[in-house]
């Protein structure tokens, strides 16, 4: 088998990436602009020995892929804002029970039903903080159809390596755009580490990650969303066990920020530096093409955990310009890691930033003194 070239939309590419990564169970509920992922999976999964099921809602979709994951499969669902909100409780359950799953959010304009057919990046903080309690997650953000494919594969590997839900935080633009892509004949698979005999099901290894006690393999594990000890048994009234568990689960991701980080750094010597992820990256790249060697660019393929050390690559930076299709969600995170002035370039409504709009932000950035300045387009 050789690599295959095709011309696909982002959502279909995402489904193909999932299949290439070995995803064999998909549970979902239709919602614009994510539905093509489910439709493609419905068509393709039965042909490769997998199972597709349309659930009664997104609570059930999230629950079903967690159940499927414990049965040993790589599992995925895809949704958009309203469905993502419904998934929040079970996302927390997946983090606390350390269940590898992949959730695709093809973002649309919110809040509420908002703009079903328009692109947005408004769920970036919900993805990081939306469920209750303290936890960490991993989130990826593709900016092309090829990346929809590649990062979906990567999402599965990260989910299994870190035993955590992994989010593919894309948007309507990338989901519905058609581009030429290469479908790989084989992709790298990093499998989850199975629980060893004699190992306790919730005792961490040197990476802070316990072995996975796949159901039906004779491990006889008990998995609960209650605070649990290393045996997996409820231990809800011990402050010590609770704190140790929560901290360990946060650290198994946060301590590996640099290993997880996936960024592009362009023109690190520039003074004015764009930071972007997802669809706005495309406009930034266009601007950089038109004005070579003028601006720096930090493109984030992984947004969470935030790759803060990559900010240090821009030694001469006088301002970070951050175009987002929200009111500045990742800009807030950047602010926590730097004293360099930030120029926030929010755009709502669904249209991408134009190069002219970014140039307007550049003009502001040239003279900026305040820590945070918002550009009104």
């Amino acid at each position: 088998m050789t690599d295959k070239t095709d011309f696909l939309n982002g959502n279909v590419a995402c489904a193909e990436g999932a299949l290439a990564a070995g995803c064999r169970f998909f549970a979902g509920y239709p919602i614009t602009p994510s539905t093509e992922v489910a439709e493609r999976m419905a068509l393709r999964l039965p042909k490769v020995g997998g199972v597709f099921i349309q659930m009664e809602d997104e609570l059930a979709s999230a629950a079903a892929i967690i159940g499927g994951s414990w049965a040993g499969a790589r599992t995925m669902t895809a949704t958009s804002g309203p469905g993502f909100s419904l998934m929040m409780e079970n996302i927390g359950y997946a983090t606390f029970t350390e269940t590898p799953i992949v959730i695709v959010n093809v973002q649309r304009g919110g809040p509420s039903t908002g703009q079903p057919t328009m692109a947005a990046q408004g769920d970036m903080l919900q993805c990081r903080y939306g469920s209750h309690g303290d936890y960490s997650v991993i989130a990826l953000s593709p900016s092309s159809v090829q990346e929809m494919y590649d990062l979906t594969v990567k999402a599965f590997n990260l989910a299994d390596r870190f035993r955590t839900p992994v989010f593919l935080m894309t948007d309507e633009t990338i989901g519905h755009m058609r581009e030429k892509i290469t479908l790989h004949s084989n992709v790298e698979i990093i499998p989850r580490r199975e629980l060893k005999e004699g190992e306790l099901p919730c005792a961490p290894d040197e990476n802070g990650v316990p072995g996975f006690g796949t159901f039906g393999m004779g491990h006889n594990v008990h998995i609960t969303g209650l605070t649990h000890n290393e045996k997996g048994y409820p231990a809800t009234d011990s402050a010590e066990i609770h704190e140790k568990l929560v901290r360990r689960q946060v650290r198994k991701i946060e301590d590996f920020r640099n290993e997880i980080a996936d960024v592009d750094i362009v023109n690190p010597d520039a003074e004015l530096v764009f930071i972007s992820y997802g669809a706005p990256t495309r406009t930034v790249r266009q601007l950089l093409n038109d004005n070579p060697d003028t601006y720096g660019h930090l493109n984030l393929r992984i947004v969470w955990p935030f790759p803060d050390e990559s900010l240090l690559a821009f030694k001469n930076a006088k301002a970070f310009i951050i175009p987002e299709m929200n009111l500045g969600q990742i800009a807030k995170e950047v602010r926590q890691h730097t004293n360099i002035p930030i120029v926030v370039v929010p755009k709502l409504g669904g249209a991408l930033h134009t190069p002219a709009e970014l140039l307007k932000a550049v003009e502001v950035a040239k003279t900026v003194k305040k820590p945070v300045t918002e550009v009104r387009l």
């Binding site: 629950a63 159940g67 499927g68 049965a71």
Partner: protein, 264 residues
């Protein structure tokens, strides 16, 4: 394997209050599983949230204690990925019919090959005795201090109408019949729903003139009407008195199930 091997011994005694019927239902379930000679690695217990749902934690094979109301959705995913697994879901009246009502209906409609054991104590036990969709009309709970003003669900009728292949109701008093029903349910492909009327002496009995556990058992014994008798009465036009409820097998049918390994 003998019966004792099906209990997770290092977690006993369990957290249930003295006289809570959930322990009895656990006994009957594990006895049925033992009678069928299931293997541990082929048997999975899944539950939601509530006192009833804690039962999954006292079984010795793989068990998944999930979120409130969602056990059937988790179970659906697990069963579809591993159809060889015998999947048994423990749920409560609130878990199954309030927050999880939609999943319940759809699991029955899909007729997924899962056995659901609903411990119906007519109350939210774990949270201290609030009214549930199964609290009888007029009964006292902390959120119905003047008596429940809504009609309760008949869970068996819901399951039957929604498409479950096997539906039965017994009580925590009828241990032999219950064990047999669970056994038949486990052997019937498709969704098997077994509702067990059970006592929550702490939050229901104490407020509803049944301070002693044994009074609740007497009530189950005296008010349970066998299905055959209820059918005869109905044919004669005799209306059932309101405190009575019907026990027995309501349906056993052979509609196509979901999640059963295709015969090769």
């Amino acid at each position: 394997m003998n019966l004792e091997d099906w209990y997770r011994q290092d977690r006993l005694p369990h957290i249930y209050c003295a006289g809570c019927g959930n322990g009895t239902i656990l006994n009957c379930t594990l006895r049925a599983v033992e009678e069928l000679d299931y293997k541990k690695e082929e048997t999975t217990f899944i539950s939601g949230i509530g006192c009833s749902s804690r039962a999954a934690g006292y079984t010795s094979s793989d068990s998944l204690h999930t979120t409130h109301g969602r056990a059937l959705a988790f179970a659906t995913g697990l069963k579809l990925v591993k159809p060889r697994q015998h999947v048994i879901v423990f749920t409560g009246d609130g878990d199954c019919s309030a927050i999880g009502g939609n999943h319940f209906i759809h699991a029955c409609r899909r007729n997924i090959d899962i056995t659901v054991i609903c411990m119906n104590n007519n109350i939210y036990g774990m949270t201290g005795g609030q009214g549930s969709p199964c609290t009888p009309y007029g009964a006292i709970s902390t959120t119905t201090p003047y008596g429940m003003q809504e009609q309760p669900f008949d869970l068996c009728k819901v399951a039957e109408a929604a498409g479950a292949n096997y539906v039965a109701r017994w009580t925590s008093f009828h241990v032999k019949e219950l064990t047999e029903a669970i056994r038949v349910g486990l052997e019937t492909p498709g969704l098997s729903f077994i509702e067990v009327m059970t006592q929550c002496p702490t939050s229901f009995g104490s407020k509803n003139k049944m301070r002693q556990v044994t009074q609740m058992l007497d009530m189950f014994r005296d008010n349970a009407v066998l299905k055959a008798k209820a059918d005869r009465d109905a044919a004669k036009g005799i209306l059932p008195s309101p405190e009575k409820f019907v026990v027995g097998q309501f349906v056993r049918r052979n509609n196509p199930p979901l999640g059963v390994e295709a015969a090769k």
